[in-house]
């Protein structure tokens, strides 16, 4: 009986979004009378930072500072349609919709500015600081505040735009079954080191080293935050979380989240995160979805590490001490 050490590796290829009945998200953008911009979505910010990212995308597209954009999310009674925040789809789907809406709003904004400055709209550019300038003659300019006031009170224009992003449903080819379930894939690879006590079946994760390829990191600190939390959650899926912890009798199962185990702050493995940026072809400013996929590769990596340590393949999650001991017993017989 001994503590045995093992190392496992796993790599994943993760589709951004889903392929059920098609995967649409809509967005609306409009200016307030003072030249702030409002993004209306039905997408939900679960704390992952959807509002911040959508504000950045809208601001970048229109050419204003991010703090000039307000994002209103998640009233499915009144908002434009969104399939939801899941499957790592929020940034990619909603972001593309926001870009389309913001482009349309920007065009109206430039048209109003052109009338005020008596120039052609195609000769105008934004400075990113809240002003619109004549290209090559920046002394001729107007603030977006004044453009909005003009649109609202003088020109009778609505500085607004509609955005729609749809990944159409992909049906399998009848002969081959081939299909294109997604247009955008993120990638990750994890190496996990574990210690397994072959007397108690207990697994201790020593280190988790992750590389994530997530397209362009639109907000690098928030991406890192997702990945750190996701790596922890992957370990949690691999070793702890289940609604039926007391196999085989369901009657002895947990009744609420108090009996749904997760690793606490004292159970953390030494964790390393490396981000690779390979901008996606159809993502908003090159983004892919880092959300759900970042909790995936740790699971097979831990399973492989357990195999490396004690020579048993556990193919049911979570990898509990009981499952390891049963497998060791079966292996000995």
């Amino acid at each position: 009986m001994a503590i045995r050490r093992g190392r496992g590796v796993a790599a994943i290829n993760y589709p951004t979004g889903m392929n059920l009945g098609g995967d649409p998200t809509q967005a609306l953008v409009h200016s307030t009378p003072t030249g702030n911009f409002m993004v209306t979505l039905s997408s939900v910010d679960l704390g992952q930072g959807m509002k911040q990212i959508m504000a950045q995308i809208c601001a970048e597209t229109i050419g204003v500072p991010t703090d000039r954009v307000v994002v209103d999310t998640a009233d499915t009674d009144t908002g434009p349609h969104c399939m939801g925040t899941f499957a790592s789809r929020g940034t990619h789907r909603a972001g593309n919709a926001v870009i389309q809406a913001a482009k349309e709003a920007r065009q109206v904004m430039l048209e109003v500015a052109a009338e005020e400055l008596e120039v052609n709209a195609s000769d105008l550019e934004t400075d990113g600081q809240g002003n619109i300038l004549v290209k090559g003659a920046p002394q001729k300019s107007i603030s977006i505040f004044d453009v909005a006031l003009s649109a609202h009170f003088k020109r009778g224009r609505s500085i607004s735009g509609r955005g729609m992003f749809l990944i159409p449903r992909s049906y399998p080819e009848k002969e081959t079954g081939a299909m294109k379930p997604s247009t955008c894939y993120a990638h990750a690879c994890t190496v996990a080191e574990v210690e397994v006590d072959d007397e108690t079946g207990e697994v201790t994760v020593l280190t988790v080293k992750n590389v994530f390829e997530i397209g362009r990191a639109l907000n690098p600190k928030m991406v890192e935050q997702q990945l750190v939390g996701g790596s922890w959650m992957g370990i949690s899926h691999a070793l702890y979380e289940t609604t039926e912890p007391y196999y085989p009798n369901r009657d002895h199962g947990g009744t609420d989240f108090n009996q749904y185990l997760m690793p606490g702050p004292g159970d953390l493995a030494e964790t390393e995160i490396i981000v690779l940026e390979r901008p996606s072809a159809d993502g908003p400013y090159g983004a892919k979805g880092p959300g759900e996929m970042c909790a995936n590769p740790q699971i097979p990596a831990v399973a492989n590490a357990v195999f490396d340590a004690v020579g048993v393949r556990i193919d049911t999650l979570p990898i509990t001490p009981e499952r390891i001991l049963r497998a060791l017993k079966a292996q000995a017989n």
Partner: protein, 160 residues
Amino acid sequence: MAKVPVQFTLNGSEKAEFIDSGTTLLNALRDKIGDTSPKGGCHQGTCGACSVIIDGELRLSCLTLAETCNGAAITTTSGLAEGGVLHPLQRAFLDAFATQCGFCTPGMIMAAKVLLDHTPNPSRDEVVEALSGNICRCTGYEPIIQAVLTAARANSQNAA
């Protein structure tokens, strides 16, 4: 049911309410007084989201009857900022990206504050121990641990 009077200090100001006997401090704070910074997670004393400080000690407000708090001094996370300036712990949580959905955050900050009040320069193990009664689903804990250590360093520099 007859109401019972309770009177205590919340974040330095006197509060007096008539409540139903048996009301938890958590419900009294949130529903009667309007301080929603303590969160109701499990309502069974296991998640730590409702943590508050009563007379300097960390307490679970979901397991504390409000009528037992007569005369007590209660601190919640909403009382930490002074004049619009965030408490060093709040600042450190922001800077370390130690919050995502935010539901555990007030309880984490309460637990961390009691730790730093008693142990201004804690080791990492002491931080882990202090936070071990609080559950977080989003962050993986590491950013929270780092935030508490950073706040402790900031405090000791200010004191020096």
